[in-house]
């Protein structure tokens, strides 16, 4: 069961990153505006972060969806969500009303205070899903299982620690056989 929880966490979190990043790719200026609006980073690094963030988001999304380098992708995902939670909490506390720029947009926005609790709750939930994957990176339907199979392991066997169904059947049949043949 555990590997399937991980698969669900991977696909949900990865899809959010992929969508959030892809929306921002066409207009880097908008992304820079969103980063600047938090009034946290110095102006010298705002354009670089604004340019880089959407690419990093797409990359983390693809890694998680494909199940490639899952632990590293989940760690990056967890760190980013933690930063976003802190960022939104920070503007909230300072009384700055902005569009969080989570899915495009960004900059000053009236009525943003109402959105902050929902945005933080969403990001905390996704942060927890990411941490689960850091803890249990082996999941079903992941590229990691094909690429990084430990040496000598039967290719038919899933690499999440549970034997494949055929193997389990074989094992149980072998067990029965040995019992019946014993006098």
């Amino acid at each position: 069961m555990t590997p399937w929880i991980g698969t669900a966490a991977r696909l949900a979190t990865g899809a959010v990153w992929l969508v959030a990043g892809a929306i921002k790719l066409p207009d880097p200026y908008e992304s820079i505006t969103a980063v600047r609006a938090y009034e946290i980073l110095p102006e010298a690094v705002v354009p670089l972060v604004g340019h880089a963030l959407p690419i990093v988001e797409v990359a983390v999304g693809l890694l998680l969806i494909l199940g490639l380098l899952t632990r590293a992708g989940a760690m990056a995902s967890a760190v980013l969500f933690a930063i976003f939670v802190i960022g939104i909490a920070s503007v909230w506390m300072r009384g700055i009303e902005i569009d969080c720029g989570c899915f495009g947009g960004g900059g000053a926005k009236e009525g943003a205070f109402e959105e902050y609790p929902k945005e933080i709750a969403r990001d905390v939930a996704l942060l927890l899903a990411s941490l689960w994957l850091v803890w249990r990176p082996r999941t079903r339907l992941a590229l990691d299982n094909l690429l990084f199979r430990p040496l000598g392991r039967d290719p038919e066997r899933n690499d999440d620690g549970e034997p494949a169904q055929e193997e389990r059947l074989r094992q149980s049949r072998a067990g029965e056989g040995s019992h019946s043949s014993a006098p």
Binding site: P28, H51, P54, V58
Partner: protein, 205 residues
């Protein structure tokens, strides 16, 4: 494992580099622009300098313009003020009208000079569409620009091709760096002034 990590990192770095390179290189600036991202009327040595940063779709910008335009024109005429206008785009959530209108002002500035650009600026605010709903098309902008004194043959291509799109976007970034949170943002003699207070100061010019 190391190979996969290297490929992933290379793709990320390449992607970031591609995004940055899309926004680098020289920005085409309209002829007759007075400062880097705006256009001015009035004498350079006028005692007061007013800077108006506005989005053509913003209702507060239209009402500020309506309340101060005549006084500013009189102050410019009397040599008391130099006024610089910065078209920016912040209301892009409502579609591309803000960007098209601001670009059109750049094209008119480029081909017909600051006086005609200012007249176009006036007309854009007088005929401002609602934020929500359908927006006028490029032909409407061209007609309004011609009405303001521009020549259709000179401006059509630049308006339809968004010739000064990057100039407008860079100008918007610069306005944010100067502290713009919303529009209109007004500077008087280099100091940011709340629009209501700015209107009072302008009335006293």
């Amino acid at each position: 494992m190391g190979g996969v990590v290297a490929v992933v990192l290379a793709l990320i770095i390449g992607g970031v580099w591609f995004q940055i390179s899309r926004n680098s290189g020289p920005v085409e600036t309209p002829a007759n622009a007075s400062s880097e991202y705006g256009f001015s009327v009035g004498e350079d040595d006028a005692p007061t300098e007013v800077e108006i940063i506005a989005d053509y779709l913003c209702p507060a910008c239209a009402s500020f313009e309506g309340a101060t335009d005549e006084q500013l024109a009189a102050a410019v005429e009397a040599g008391k003020a130099k006024v610089t206008y910065f078209p920016v785009v912040i209301l892009d959530d409502y579609g591309d009208y803000s960007a098209r209108a601001a670009n059109a002002v750049g094209v008119v500035l480029d081909t017909a000079g600051p006086e005609v650009a200012l007249e176009f600026n006036r007309n854009l605010f007088a005929e401002q569409p609602a934020e929500a709903g359908n927006k006028p098309d490029d032909d409407w902008l061209i007609d309004l620009a011609v009405e303001s004194g521009a020549k259709e043959a000179d401006i059509r291509e630049g308006i339809e091709d968004s010739q000064f799109e990057r100039w407008i976007k860079e100008g918007t970034q610069e306005a944010q760096r100067r502290g713009m949170k919303g529009t209109p943002t007004i500077f008087i003699d280099g100091k940011m002034v709340d629009p209501a207070a700015a209107a009072t100061q302008i009335a006293a010019l």
